[in-house]
Symmetry: C2
């Protein structure tokens, strides 16, 4: 096997000594095999789902920078109580970056048609100057779509589509979404508006409500206001939503949603039942913006469920044919329904600067960073 060349890759390494080390590692990029391509990665988002692998449970207030300007290193302490959970990745230097987009710069014999095309890929190790990929895993973006526009073509768009699909598969008629002003939340609003699905948007700040109002969202509830419980109930009654997707995870929000759904179900009448209504209420936690404990005040009967939700098992459940349909829809609507906004575009080296890490690690709704590994260091 020949070598295409060399390139830098961002690595995250939790050491047995209790330290997280982020660094840029020069790796060989192989010559692509017949069904493979080499992508020059130009855009890869830092999603909340990337931060788990990138930063682990390290205490970023202890972060220090070292190394050189072209080979920067960031080090931070991992509190000892989290080290047992790190057993499976300890002392392994791991590449990071779930998804991204770039231009195909080399291709095997069977994939020559992709050379020069802008493609998006899901599958890890995207915080890198070059990425070898199977041609079949490349989502070819339409003419005129830039890598930055196509960088988030998988996680957010497919998760938003998965929410609406899950709603139909599990027999619910409307949705609730939290952290609703996020890029994903905005996509979900556009999908729901297009398909006539009612959506209750829960936000945490007034300016987030405005973002949603501007794109036509109908039901917006701000959990920071004193009348949150009443407004949530109103929206749940109006929509009949009995399924929620929660990006926050910690605290009382999931419990408040289940309680509201139960109250809404009881408002629509029926005899008193000491076990609560028979309407099934479901909340799926798909993120952990609040990593604290989830607190459930079980005043919502027995017909309820709470669970984790991940994209990959969902796609396995619906199968390859449906997955391909969903992927194609994303490509077709990448500049409209599935458009993403970013706070800043940073280089691989900048992604290792403590002040910039602190900024993207805030996990603030509406603040998303994009890494461009070919921006220069």
């Amino acid at each position: 096997m020949g070598t295409f060349g060399k390139g830098l890759q961002l690595h995250s390494h939790v050491k047995g000594s209790g330290e997280l080390e982020l660094s840029l590692v020069e790796v060989d990029v192989p010559e692509p095999a017949g069904d493979e391509v080499v992508i020059r990665v130009e855009a890869s988002p830092i999603n909340p789902s990337d931060l788990g692998l990138l930063l682990g449970p390290a205490d970023m207030s202890t972060a220090t920078a070292s190394g050189s300007s072209v080979r920067p290193v960031l080090t931070a302490k991992v509190p000892e109580r989290f080290m047992p959970a790190m057993a499976a990745r300890k002392d392994m230097s791991m590449p990071v970056g779930n998804e991204g987009a770039g231009v195909v710069v080399s291709a095997g014999s069977e994939a020559q048609g992709l050379v020069g095309k802008t493609v998006a890929v899901l599958g890890g190790a995207m915080y890198a100057q070059y990425r070898l990929a199977k041609a079949a895993d490349c989502l070819v973006l339409p003419q005129g779509v830039s890598p930055a526009e196509g960088a988030s073509a998988f996680v957010n768009p497919l998760t938003a589509l998965a929410m609406v699909e899950t709603m139909r598969m599990e027999g619910h008629k409307a949705l609730v979404h939290t952290a609703a002003a996020s890029n994903l939340g905005q996509m979900l609003n556009k999908i729901c508006l297009a398909e006539g699905v009612e959506l209750v948007n829960i936000v945490r700040k007034p300016d987030q409500a405005q973002i949603l109002r501007d794109i036509g969202a109908k039901h917006i509830v701000d959990s920071s206001t004193p009348d949150f419980t009443a407004k949530l109930l109103e929206a749940l009654v109006a929509t009949g939503a009995t399924l929620a997707f929660d990006a926050i995870g910690g605290g009382r929000l999931a419990s408040q949603i289940l309680t509201g759904m139960e109250a809404a179900a009881n408002q629509s009448g029926g005899a008193y039942n000491r076990y609560g209504s028979s309407v099934h209420k479901q909340v799926y936690i798909y993120g952990g913006l609040d990593t604290g404990p989830t607190e459930l005040y079980r005043s919502f009967g027995f017909a309820w469920g709470l669970g984790g939700f991940l994209l990959t098992p969902f796609l396995q459940k619906v199968g390859p044919e449906r997955t391909q349909q969903l992927r194609q829809r994303v490509a077709d609507e990448i500049k409209t329904t599935f458009a993403s906004q970013y706070t800043a575009e940073i280089s691989l080296a900048e992604a290792l600067q403590p002040d910039i890490v602190a900024a993207y690690n805030k996990r603030a709704t509406g603040e998303k960073y994009l890494i461009n590994p070919n921006k220069g260091l």
Copy 2:
């Protein structure tokens, strides 16, 4: 319609003024129609699932007795914060008692064969001297089974059977049960031993462990011991249990079980996955011995579910034919697999004495009270 006679019925009444009132109400017992019978109720258990309707959220430290020895009345305050949840039952005097057994003393033309038979019934209003019932709803107990022996022929036995059925239906291979030394827990052990299903029993006290050891339980873990986490993990690894039924509800136990299941799944190997193992872990809460909040420390990946579990929707799901098979099994094994123990047999009037209420409201595992409405007051 003629009248069979009169009989006392225990009623629970939450008044708009914020008071719970328990009393004995004399009601007419109708002459049975063609397909009906009148049962002289001689035994009805006070299950945790009865206490919700019986006592509601009343503060029983405020309980006071009044009335006469033959018409006792118990009154207690309902804290104002719970009154909104009482809207659907407010100012309604409600009969209580999910299940019980007795002797058929009168029957319609089509049910004459039941006269003199000892039968068990599920369906409410069993804390009463007489209960009108459909003949088809009567579970005829085998010759030689007393009403006391047949009093708990539905809730606990069918719930225990439902746990094993659910395990099979949802693709798990072993079970975890909490409050495991309860009557229900003992039944579950006998079923699992008979069917070769591995069961992890979680108890809260050493003497409860002894009860289970005496009936042959293999995996017993005491949550009051300092090595609980390690012992639980050991039992989860040994059994491969990924489904738990939890009677406690509040606190950290469900979270500890999910965490243990995840650790067990990761011990069996596989590559590191930042989202946790792909093994689905499920806890169903079917009771609320601890009515406090459920606290989930979500360190168990994303392949998990927590939900409420009730017998009635389960029976609807499996259908009438399977339900009938399960009922018949209970009748056949009522003196062995499904035998219940009681702390005391009390009268309807005794069930209204504050000191006795305090005793059965402790919800202590292994302490169960039986009401005999025909014991005299």
